[in-house]
């Protein structure tokens, strides 16, 4: 029982951390936005370099303090007025834009005082970068669940134990559930980042095919009456489907141009998680979420397997 509570708190806590951790850029980010000619204000995190030099600026209106960002670069931050919590502050996350001529960041709003953990600012993604913490674990679980389904399919074909077939079907069902979650989270996100719910990016195609494969898997199961026949034929189809799935999941998205990171025409990040292009804080949260999802899957699997086992025993009249 205790581990179920722990699991619940684990997933809830890391979801909360994922959602609540602020996105904050560096001076490099805000300068780059300025160079691109964008008037957009972005969040910047800095430490106050020397409190005693903070003063009303030369132009009279602004309250200027020197700040050092996470990469050790420093610049002036011009506030419209003296922030009320200035005495207690050691650093801020502010919303601002870069003024190249005066080499200062014009601050429009203080987002947070004495910030703790932050995620990096990624141009074009910003807050939307957090999708990785939810979408990637469910996508991985899709593949893992289908792998387990194939594994029990192989076991059924070797040992002809109907319980293996039941496990295979249950895992495929859970895989389908994760697959639907991955599709909907991705699709809603795509509307806000890429402009439409569906773009036929190679990875979108691949998840669509996974849905079709396991839709077909359950269609086949329902078309067969005799238990043994259903078990062996659906195991064969599951294995056959899983050997062609790598073409979609692992090969196509990498050799074809697309919108997801790691596509053939992706020049900035490459495969985000495996290439080490990911921020360390974000990586820890991602791996914790992944662990939580694996345990969640194992729990659901155990639950459904024991229900099936009881049903089988009842059917046998024992």
């Amino acid at each position: 029982m205790w581990w179920k509570l722990l699991l619940f708190f684990w997933i809830a806590a890391f979801s909360a951390i994922g959602i609540l951790t602020p996105i904050a850029g560096t001076l490099g980010d805000v300068a780059m936005m300025g160079q691109m000619g964008s008037a957009k204000e972005i969040p910047v995190k800095f430490e106050i370099a020397d409190k005693s030099t903070a003063a009303v600026g030369a132009d009279g209106a602004a309250f200027v303090m020197r700040g050092i960002d996470a990469q050790g670069r420093s610049a002036d931050f011009a506030f419209a007025s003296n922030p009320s919590d200035f005495d207690a502050a050691t650093g801020y996350i502010v919303q601002g834009r870069y003024d190249a001529a005066a080499h200062r960041v014009i601050v429009s709003k203080v987002l947070s005082t004495n910030p703790g953990m932050t995620f990096p600012f990624i141009p074009g993604l910003e807050e939307r970068a957090k999708i990785i913490l939810f979408h990637v674990p469910v996508s991985w679980m899709t593949v893992i669940a289908f792998l387990v389904s194939m594994w029990y399919g192989i076991r059924y074909l070797r040992k002809k134990d109907l319980e293996d077939d039941a496990k295979s079907a249950i895992s495929a069902g859970l895989g389908l559930l994760f697959c639907i979650l991955a599709t909907t989270t991705g699709s809603v996100w795509a509307k806000f980042n890429w402009g439409s719910f569906w773009n036929w990016d190679p990875r979108e195609t691949s998840i669509f095919v996974l849905l079709l494969v396991y839709g077909a898997y359950f269609a086949l199961r329902s078309a067969l009456d005799i238990e043994e026949k259903r078990a062996s034929l659906s195991a064969v189809y599951g294995i056959l489907a899983f050997v062609t799935v790598p073409f979609f999941i692992f090969i196509m998205p990498r050799i074809l141009p697309g919108l997801h990171p790691g596509s053939a025409d992706d020049t900035n990040s490459g495969p985000v998680v495996s290439s080490g292009g990911m921020n360390a804080t974000m990586r820890i949260v991602l791996y914790s979420m992944l662990l939580g999802h694996i345990v969640l899957y194992a729990w659901l699997m155990r639950l459904r397997v024991s229900v099936t086992r009881l049903a089988m025993r009842k059917a046998d009249g024992a």
Binding site: V209, L212, K229, L240, V243, T244, F248, M252
Partner: protein
């Protein structure tokens, strides 16, 4: 059973299928008419419009896919309908049955695909592949890939209750990687692009055939024997 025996029974099964097909011409006649009908629908809907060559590549694969879907289940379903499955199970090893059927299906698909392409070349005026060599390679390799993936699925659905509708449902997701690379390579063959840009697609088709045939040989026994 040694290798020569297996070879002999493979050839016997292939020969049996070819002979019974030639006697009734059930599949071939129906399939050729299917292709003619589908092509006339395409010709009606195009109605003299000039379409981009890449669209033709897509249309060609649509026709090839549905022709395969309507024809390739036949080999195993016919055995069930005639009630000859049991005899075949007794007389031949699963591997030789699978390879015999695979060869028959491959021959049927290649015949069908060549016929489809010939009709496209004859009746659609601007259907002119810029690189005929690459074009025929893709069409024939694609045909082998389609038959290699669908043979085992035909064996699966021959044992299911809803034989007709399930075949395309089960085949489509498995065939999709090959359809995608087939269409992309055909597009390249239709246009004046470098031959090498189709190389990744051809590699994918080749490795697809190897993977699917290997998996089928290993799995066929479980489909075939009760």
């Amino acid at each position: 059973m040694n290798t020569t025996d297996v070879m002999r029974s493979i050839i016997a099964i292939l020969g049996k299928d070819v002979r019974s097909e030639l006697r009734t011409r059930y599949a071939v006649n129906a399939l050729l008419m299917f292709v003619v009908v589908t092509l006339s629908v395409i010709l009606f809907s195009l109605a003299g419009e000039t379409v981009a060559r890449s669209v033709h590549a897509g249309l060609l694969w649509v026709v090839m896919f549905f022709a395969a879907m309507s024809g390739l289940a036949r080999s195993f379903v016919a055995e069930e309908e005639r009630g000859t499955t049991l005899t075949l199970q007794l007389l031949a090893t699963p591997v030789s049955v699978y390879i015999g059927k695979l060869l028959f299906n491959t021959a049927l698909t290649l015949l069908l695909n060549s016929f489809i392409v010939l009709l496209f070349l004859l009746f659609i005026p601007d259907f002119t592949p810029a690189q005929p060599g690459l074009f025929w390679t893709v069409v024939l390799l694609g045909g082998v890939a389609v038959s290699s993936a669908t043979t085992i699925i035909a064996a699966i659905i021959a044992r299911a209750n809803t034989k007709g509708t399930l075949f395309p449902v089960l085949s489509f997701p498995i065939l999709l990687p090959l359809l995608m690379s087939g269409i992309s390579a055909t597009k390249i063959a239709m246009e004046e692009q470098a031959w090498t840009s189709a190389w990744a697609d051809l590699q994918l088709l080749g490795s697809y055939i190897v993977v699917v045939v290997t998996a089928s040989i290993l799995l066929f026994e479980h489909v075939w024997k009760d």
